[in-house]
Amino acid sequence: MALDRWIALVFVVFCCVYGYAAFFTMDQLLPPFMQRNPVWPSTFPKVLSILGVAVGLIVLLGLEGSTKEKELTASDINYRRLTEYKLGQAILLLGLMVAYALALRPLGFLFSTTAFLVAGSAVLGERKWLTMLIVSAIAAGCVWYLVQEVLGIFLRPLPFFMGN
């Protein structure tokens, strides 16, 4: 089964769960005065879940007819041969983004951003550590200045133990 059909299968299951939540768990919480309304908060989700299951099944069962596979150019990606691409780098970068999200508050913007940019370049194979460090630190400083001072959006610059 091709990837798009697997996705359709997951989507149908998701719609069933969503539909279950809409049909069986939402209406009990409704205050009595709202029950006299022709539209309930669950109405639209109910319609969507039914439509979703129907459309998902069309894709899953290939009722629309299989379209011929698009020809891939050099810059496209064939997911069947995913391991031949730089999959490791991509996963490491995603991991870095998660780490950045978790570190942003406790470690402060300047440190986390510099570390993220340096680590990102390192993952991609860059080894000029000093250049990387200088470029990242300057970039982090500039962005912090623009966001905090010019736009006036608060970004905690320093780690939590060094005050604000």
């Binding site: 969503y18 109405t43 894709v59 379209t67 970068l93 983004m97 990102g120 991609l124 970039a139």
Partner: protein
């Protein structure tokens, strides 16, 4: 209309707003050149900036400038590197890149700039004529018609975006609509599908979703496949000299520009069609019209072949503002993001926009003229310098693209959980792109979801049920149109396949 133009002129010509146009165009060109950051991602990054401006006119002018700049920047990288930053400028590289290889990169850039300028300007004139007329009609619409109109818009987007694969596009639209039901809606004052998580109480932020759907997968693709965005690197990116083109070439361009700006504009008005289809169609039409030697020149550096897609894509971008400004319904991913920005600024686009806040409406249109002029006068001479950004090594570029993606989502919400949602949705979007699912319908579905439900609920309440479909003929007509839009492509595909099978059997 004259009065409106005057209001727009006074608003757009203030020093502050002129600076906004210039800044927007420069930022847009700068970032638009980078592989992996299309106009949608750039606008999404700029939204927090626009919102802090506070003034909706200035914000919209800035974002429109960024939009035009990004498309212009995309053409630049198509011409110089054969690496289109945006789908809408792929057709530009057909003739632009060969021209650059011949050592005429400067000329190619000028032609592209002049063509974009003319396309954008003629498009803006058409917009000035058509938008007010359409708004007058749209003022007669009730919530039932709005509901039906949105259904038409969503089906049209699904029908056009998923060429040959309407079901997949519809699936994405429904997923977008489902995501829009998460959180506490204004209509019922009751949290839905939050799974008890506080962070989902206010729903999923549309900037996060936009970043996750477009910027992140593109960056992931760049990481996975180094060949992407690096084709022909260094090929023609060297020196850019001789920005002029000859008088004969100019004369050859005029009819092309005339035809393509009108055609591009109307394609842009259609929901879901947009700049990509306009540019490809424009290129194809001009190649078919051209005769003899002219036609043979296409693909080898033809002036007409470069001018056609450039004119068409800019005219289409302008055209896509028509449904946004008059009906409040975005026809493309980019206008969907603009709509989100407007809502965040407390401006509701739609027919009331012209009546309630004419200065916003007209200032945007006037700033389109100014933006095009800025691109032509200011950006063109700067291009050789801006193009230096293309020589930034990939190892530095990609972490920065990822960082800007994260920042775009973070600044708007100031919530680190948003970043985790971004990464999660981004991975999902990357997988969806592997399987060739179109993502623009998802975002448009998400943005229209709340409005669709509001209008649906309002009509249900007014008519105490589904009677509004029968009692309002226009609603019924629009819903039938929506059904036809969805069913027609698959019917035609099936008939074509049956015919092809028939031929095969006959052999």
């Amino acid at each position: 209309m004259l009065e409106g133009i005057m209001i727009g002129l006074t608003a757009a010509l203030s020093i502050e707003n002129l600076l906004m146009v210039v800044a927007g165009c420069l930022i847009g060109t700068f970032i638009g050149m980078l592989p992996g950051l299309g106009p949608m991602s750039i606008i999404a990054i700029m939204i927090p900036v626009a919102i802090t401006l506070g003034d909706p006119t200035a914000a919209l002018i800035l974002l429109a400038g960024v939009y035009y700049g990004a498309i212009f920047g995309g053409s630049t990288s198509s011409i110089l590197l054969n690496a289109p930053g945006v789908a809408g400028t792929v057709a530009t590289s057909f003739d632009g890149y060969p021209m650059a290889l011949k050592g005429e990169a400067g000329k190619a850039l000028t032609i592209a700039a002049v063509a974009s300028f003319s396309g954008g300007t003629i498009g803006a004139i058409l917009l000035m004529v058509f938008a007010p007329a359409l708004s007058t009609v749209a003022l007669l619409f009730h919530s039932a018609e709005y509901f039906a109109l949105m259904v038409v818009g969503l089906s049209a987007i699904a029908a056009f975006a998923g060429t040959g694969n309407v079901a997949k596009a519809l699936m994405m639209t429904i997923l977008g609509l489902i995501l829009a039901t998460v959180g506490e809606g204004a209509l019922f004052n009751m949290p839905r599908f939050t799974m008890g998580l506080m962070d989902l109480q206010s729903g999923i932020s549309f900037i996060t979703l936009a970043m996750a759907m477009f910027a992140l997968p593109e960056a992931m693709f760049l990481v996975l496949n180094p060949a992407r965005g690096a084709q022909g690197q260094g090929g023609a990116g060297g020196k850019i000299t001789g920005l002029r083109f000859s008088r004969e070439e100019g004369r050859a361009m005029i009819p092309v520009i005339g035809r393509q700006s009108v055609q591009g504009f109307f394609i842009g008005v259609l929901p879901g069609a947009g700049a990509t289809i306009a540019s490809f169609l424009g290129y194809a039409v001009e190649r078919n019209i051209a005769k003899g030697e002219d036609q043979a020149e296409f693909g080898k550096g033809s002036v007409k072949g470069l001018a056609a897609p450039e004119t068409a894509n800019n005219a289409a971008c302008t055209g896509s503002f028509v449904p946004l400004l008059t009906l409040g319904i975005p026809g493309s991913g980019t206008t969907a993001i603009l709509l989100g920005a407007l809502i965040a600024l407390n401006v509701t686009p739609g027919p009331r926009l012209m009546v309630d806040t004419p200065e916003v409406f007209w200032a945007v249109i006037i700033s389109m003229f100014i933006g095009n002029l800025v691109l032509l006068i200011l950006n063109l001479p700067l291009i050789p310098y801006i193009a230096k950004i293309l020589s930034i090594p990939r190892n530095y570029l990609i972490p920065f693209i990822l960082f800007f993606t994260l920042m775009g989502a973070y600044i708007g919400q100031n919530n680190a959980t948003e970043l985790l949602i971004l990464v999660g949705l981004g991975v999902l979007a990357t997988i969806l792109r592997f399987a060739d699912y179109p993502l623009a319908p998802l975002l448009i579905g998400f943005i229209l979801g709340t409005m669709l439900e509001d209008n649906f609920a309002r009509s249900m309440q007014l008519y105490r049920g589904l009677d509004f479909i029968i009692e309002r003929p226009m609603t019924l007509g629009l819903l039938v149109l929506a059904a036809i839009l969805v069913l027609l492509p698959s019917y035609r595909a099936r008939r074509a396949r049956r015919r092809a099978e028939g031929v095969a059997d006959g052999d």
